[in-house]
Symmetry: C2
Subunit: 425 residues, 2 copies
Amino acid sequence: MKEVNIAIAGLGVVGGEVARILCNDADRLKRQAGAKLNLVAVSARQVRDRGFSMDGISFAEDAASLANRDDIDIVVELIGRSEGVALDLCRNALKSGKHVVTANKALVAHHGHELAICAEENDTQLCFEAAVAGGIPAIKLLREGLSANDIELVTGILNGTCNYILTEMTQTGRSFDDVLAEAQAKGYAEAEPSFDVDGIDAAHKLAILAAIAYGQKIRFESVQMAGIRNISDTDIGFAADLGYVIKLLGTAARYALPTVQPCLIAQDTQLAKIDGALNAVAYKGSPVQSILCTGPGAGDGPTASAVLADIIDIARGHRAFPFGKPAASLLDADIQKPVDAGRYYLRMMVKDEIGVLNTVTAILRDHDISVESMLQKGRSDNAPVHLVFTTHSTEHAYVRAACNSLSGEKFVAGDILALPIMENV
Amino acid sequence: MKEVNIAIAGLGVVGGEVARILCNDADRLKRQAGAKLNLVAVSARQVRDRGFSMDGISFAEDAASLANRDDIDIVVELIGRSEGVALDLCRNALKSGKHVVTANKALVAHHGHELAICAEENDTQLCFEAAVAGGIPAIKLLREGLSANDIELVTGILNGTCNYILTEMTQTGRSFDDVLAEAQAKGYAEAEPSFDVDGIDAAHKLAILAAIAYGQKIRFESVQMAGIRNISDTDIGFAADLGYVIKLLGTAARYALPTVQPCLIAQDTQLAKIDGALNAVAYKGSPVQSILCTGPGAGDGPTASAVLADIIDIARGHRAFPFGKPAASLLDADIQKPVDAGRYYLRMMVKDEIGVLNTVTAILRDHDISVESMLQKGRSDNAPVHLVFTTHSTEHAYVRAACNSLSGEKFVAGDILALPIMENV
């Protein structure tokens, strides 16, 4: 029987789980892969018991050295970060004819194109299923399962931390800061939460999905990003009154810049019902119409499932271009237009004075924005009031210009929030 | 550039759509597949315009002749039925070294093992993604996407007609007969609805999923089947009162017979929210935890998406065992135990007489069945009343025996309905 020798660089929660399954479920995996999967080397910052026997497994002090060993077929990179050791290891492993499996979304988002070229030149596989949406086979679903489709839209809940926070805010009425602090205490969110709550993590994943969906060179810089820090419990409440929930969605559409931003979606849609730390990816295309897949977007088990599926693919002899097509045929993503959702939710805080409403509506009219509905909620006498509009279908640029104009008015207190209302998810 | 020659046998709604896309979207598919996909021959009962040009495409009077032509690489079988022309064509095409793509679930459920052996012996591909859940890549998701998992459970809404009927009954309170008649009038259900409403179609699909999930030889006969004819609007109402919806679920679990049956599932679960003609497949396993995929389970576009994905797989050089593993390594499914859901819903109609309730509860007690809750609803004075129980966790065999015993009582009018309450979906 064929044997495949594997090295794992990085034994954190995911690396440890991948190693444990390779060692402890070897017979089951052998039957699945049609090949014996041997864990021959690992590299980690420290040696300690991680629930598998190190017998016959060599420990490399220097992860980079794994790229040069003759007895390794697949290097599994689980070190993290887009630069440094991870990048060097992947690049050198591919150059020396090894397959690379990685869960490193930052690395792929920033260097995926270069690495894909490197893989093709050396006739090796570069696989990163685990980089997008954890246990959901989001890449294989798109690249193989929906390969015949003209993809109109890929949109998803790609960050479990943000979805957990927004779900908690929706279900309990608590504030962003309050829920974030609790999530940090429970270990659901990092002490430095920027990567999650500012949309960077979701943007890495979206860049990968967009490149595959549209046959484009991956370009992280093209992703438009907004996080959830400025979503208040008031917004969640207004959205609910209007029949919507607020979700952080990553959306890639043909002829538009991929965009990560909080959006309003109708309460009765499938995506609106994806709660807590779950991820979900929805694909719209022709001829398939619409497919939605949901599951755990992070965690040791789900991520290990994706890493191991890539290993099994390679062992089975499955060969695929990392982004679905030869790197040389991938197009430059030179589109500058942001995703245009059509309708918008606008929320501002204004002084409760005579004539304010008239001025606001005049500014909206002057920017060709037609109001669909309006809500006003006061906190107390003479205090500023929340003013919320939903608009009829309009252009992103008009909304931005109107917000800029409104921000210049003295009666406006604080930032103006403009969120798209996604109709077609 | 590589060229792949394709013949389509059967130009119904799906075959026509596959042909149209092959002809009209040839450039897009070429880029996706990395090969030119040429439709070179078709076979159908009659020649007529189907929205694509027949220039350069030969029309075969006899579908069977497609198996023997030297200029064909892939035969797409969309004729239907498990025996006859479809079987002969697939068998002979594989024997003559051609790849076969089919959407024919009955054929695969009954002859999948023989055909898989035939494909392997002739080093050709047998692909049937379109046979399960239409546009949802349910097979690729399981076979490739979740290949590393020890699958605990695969459960799904696999028949859109049944789900449409049950959804309508739930949302409008109408009867099965009434909704079925309307569905037939609208073309959602066949004039002869048995294939759908008696669970046969779902059982075909479940047999395929079970074989792949557990590495077993496909055996349609092992699937336990119950349809939705005996689900009354009363049951739907009782279920709602108890916090459940009724769905026809196909469930394959390790160490249990695959089973298609109406089940109660909690209203707040994801599967409970899959409404109308949608299909959904949920996979539970280790280490992935739980993945759910939903989309259109039938229709020309979604089914064509799956057929074309198989064609593209073949054109890309992707080779897979039809059931995920070599046919010779597939196990005999010799398990006899039905899926045991644990708790049950029992509904009977009884005469409204003194002592009836005491006798019923005695019979349940004598079969070791512990009652969790009871509902009684009378229609009018002296008329039989509905009696509904939910039980604590029990064995399928006990429930069956209790129902048999109850059926022998003179105060019981009509059939007794016993439905499992699925907790873990």
